[in-house]
């Protein structure tokens, strides 16, 4: 059990490894470009690799000190398990909304979001329905009709009407 906590990478360390990877990718991708185009990407890529590695080593050193002092393993940014509480669900709502837009179109997806979000988070039926109706009405009459914003109709409508999907 003790060994697993020691070897487990913190979120901050993973993010730094990703930064180093991004830097390396920038260097590798830009290798074949003319000098004028590749100079800055290569400098910035190298800077990312260097800074990422420095910070990663610094975090490893600090983590080592903390482990020696037998204190709970929390990174210096105060990152811990609790800071992510509720985020997967909140993120899922956003991603779900995005997918719903792509499939059903903006107006329908927004109507679904207004209704299901309010209802699932504890609103009464009447409140959820009123919020949904007002939201849909504003989107349709104010944005679509008045401002004439041509909202994305969604794959479904595009497929039915035989239009370009994206």
């Amino acid at each position: 059990m003790k060994t697993s906590t020691k070897t487990r990478l913190s979120g901050s360390s993973i993010s730094l490894i990703l930064i180093v990877a991004v830097g390396l990718a920038a260097i590798i991708i830009s290798l074949n470009w003319p000098l004028t185009s590749k100079l800055l990407p290569m400098i910035l890529g190298s800077a990312l690799v260097l800074l990422g590695a420095i910070k990663l080593l610094d975090e490893a050193r600090k983590k080592g000190k903390v482990a020696k002092a037998e204190q709970p393993a929390v990174s210096q940014e105060g990152e811990n398990e609790d800071t992510w509480k509720g985020y997967p669900q909140a993120g899922a709502w956003v991603v779900g909304y995005l997918l719903a837009i792509i499939v059903f179109g903006f107006i329908f997806a927004s109507t679904f979001l207004a209704f299901f979000y309010t209802k699932i988070h504890g609103a009464r039926w009447a409140a959820a329905i009123i919020t949904t109706v007002i939201t849909t009405a504003i989107l349709y009459f104010v944005f679509q009709r008045f401002f004439q914003i041509d909202f994305y109709p969604g794959i479904l409508i595009n497929w039915i009407t035989g239009q370009r999907i994206f």
Binding site: E77, G91, Y97
Partner: protein, 498 residues
């Protein structure tokens, strides 16, 4: 110059123009009042809609919002003890205790009047500084501009909160992201992966909405409940407010000194109002006849922090207008607005568009005066915004954010926004610096352009020009400052422990 100043005032006779100032300040009050939602969020949300407006109206809307967000933040700070904005934290030290002692109106009156006076001073300083800035800007070449951008990035990376290395990583990442798309000189499509969507670079609006607006709503959704943790906020009669307003003038010295310091700190990139308010508060305490009363609801403390907050706007606007270097994260977004509206910060803003520059400065003053009146009259109702449950706030704002990101009627903009929201949340959680990333993203193209111009016109030793050398030394100094400070702190701690 006087002609441009007069012309700028003429705009305020146009009802259409005044309407946008009013809308901007109302939006600023709302984002200021709601804790956790800053003017950055407001800019990100309203950014796409602003582009449909003429430049004057768009800029006065944005300036109006910026100028009054502090004032809005003072409402929740004073009445509920929740800083509406990070720039109101020092106001909390004396504003809330005064409210707890049964004088919330007095505290609100002092904070509003101190803010207005801070804005009056900032306009005066700006008028004095523009001719000086003009001479300075006209003498700089591409090599100096390159190093000025570098210094700006270093300052924002090193002086803002969190780890300096992570700040620098954020800046470098922002610069790298700005290089996506077709290269102006060679036409090479960089980092596009063959996608035509990325050929003109990563779109600005979805990036900004993803980094700043969407994470706020995800955070609120994750936390649930309401924004405010306090049950209610109470404000008694308006006579008490008026007493606070008049009382501010008794502390005119603190008011003036804090405004000067606030203005000067505003000029320096990276030193935000969050820093200047505490500097001013500390100085006011040290120079006060009654330092022991600070923190107990003493008016001088409120005057110091609120004056500094507002005076800062003029200073940071000057750096942004004259050099194109945003002095703060909000100014970084303002710079983005300039670019999209077809305005080029730098000498042009002090010559061809001098009237626009004056107009923005005057907007700060007009908006602050009007906002102070509105806030005082409507404070009891404004505070109710903090009690809107997340279940209504989140979906409605989310829809609004998605409409904003649909600027180019491109579905992939939404995907970009959601990706950047993930990046924004991760950056926030792991101690990276989002404003530095967006600053690098805005300045990346200019950074590259000035680099090549300097190299081609002055050769590889372009950094040996006197001003460039000073800027390089300053950059190295600020890079070394934080590690040196930490090393000294550690040594002192060891000595104390021994």
């Amino acid at each position: 110059m006087l002609e441009a100043f007069g012309h700028a005032w003429l705009n305020f006779l146009d009802p259409n123009f005044l309407l946008f100032v009013f809308l901007g300040l109302m939006a600023g009050i709302v984002v200021g009042v709601i804790p956790g939602i800053s003017v950055l969020f407001g800019y990100a949300v309203f950014f796409p809609f602003v582009f449909y407006l003429p430049a004057e109206e768009a800029l006065c809307f944005m300036m109006g919002m910026l100028a009054v967000s502090n004032n809005g933040g003072a409402v929740t700070t004073v009445l509920a003890g929740i800083p509406g904005d990070s720039t109101n934290v020092a106001t909390l030290l004396d504003g809330f205790p005064m409210a707890q002692k049964g004088e919330p109106g007095r505290a609100l009156g002092i904070s509003m009047m101190a803010s207005v006076m801070g804005d009056v001073y900032t306009v005066c300083f700006a008028l004095l500084m523009i001719p000086l800035a003009y001479n300075f800007v006209m003498s700089v070449t591409s090599s100096e501009l390159f190093f000025v951008i570098m210094l700006g990035l270093v300052l924002i990376s090193t002086l803002s909160r969190g780890s300096m290395v992570k700040g620098l990583i954020s800046g470098a990442l922002g610069l790298l992201l700005s290089l996506f798309g077709s290269h102006i000189v060679t036409g090479v499509a960089r980092f596009t992966g063959g996608s035509t969507y990325l050929y003109e670079g990563i779109p600005l609006v979805p990036t900004m909405m993803g980094l700043f607006a969407l994470p706020v709503m995800i955070e609120l959704s994750a936390g649930g409940g309401t924004i405010s943790v306090v049950k209610q906020m109470k404000l008694k009669g308006y006579r008490e407010v008026w007493h606070g307003v008049t009382e501010t003038f008794r502390y005119w010295r603190v008011n003036l000194l804090s405004s000067v310091i606030g203005y000067c700190t505003g000029i320096i990139p990276g030193v935000g109002a969050a820093v200047s308010q505490f500097v001013c508060y500390g100085i006011a305490k040290q120079t006060s006849k009654h330092p022991e009363l600070f923190g107990t609801g003493y008016p001088e403390g409120i005057v110091a922090s609120e004056s500094a907050n507002d005076a800062k706007h003029g200073g940071s606007l000057l750096t942004t207008l004259a050099l194109g270097i945003p002095a703060s994260s909000t100014m970084a977004l303002m710079l983005g607005a300039f670019l999209i509206l077809g305005l080029k910060p730098g000498p042009e803003m002090l010559t061809t568009h001098l009237d626009l520059s004056f107009m923005m400065i005057i907007t700060i003053l007009v908006a602050a005066v009007v906002a102070a009146i509105i806030i005082i009259l409507s404070a009891p109702w404004l505070t109710k915004l903090c009690f809107i449950p997340a279940r209504y706030m989140v979906p409605l704002t989310l829809i609004f954010i998605f409409i904003g990101a649909y600027n180019e009627l491109e579905v992939l903009d939404w995907v970009t926004m959601v990706i950047f929201a993930g990046i924004g949340i991760a950056m926030d959680k792991f101690g990276f610096n989002r404003p530095t990333l967006i600053l690098g993203f805005f300045l990346g193209n200019m950074f590259e352009k000035y680099f090549w111009l300097a190299l081609m016109s002055q050769g590889p030793l372009f950094f040996l020009r006197p001003v460039c050398l000073v800027l390089v030394i300053l950059s190295i100094f600020f890079l070394g400052l934080a590690p040196a400070r930490n090393a000294i702190g550690r040594r002192l701690q060891r000595r104390l422990a021994a």
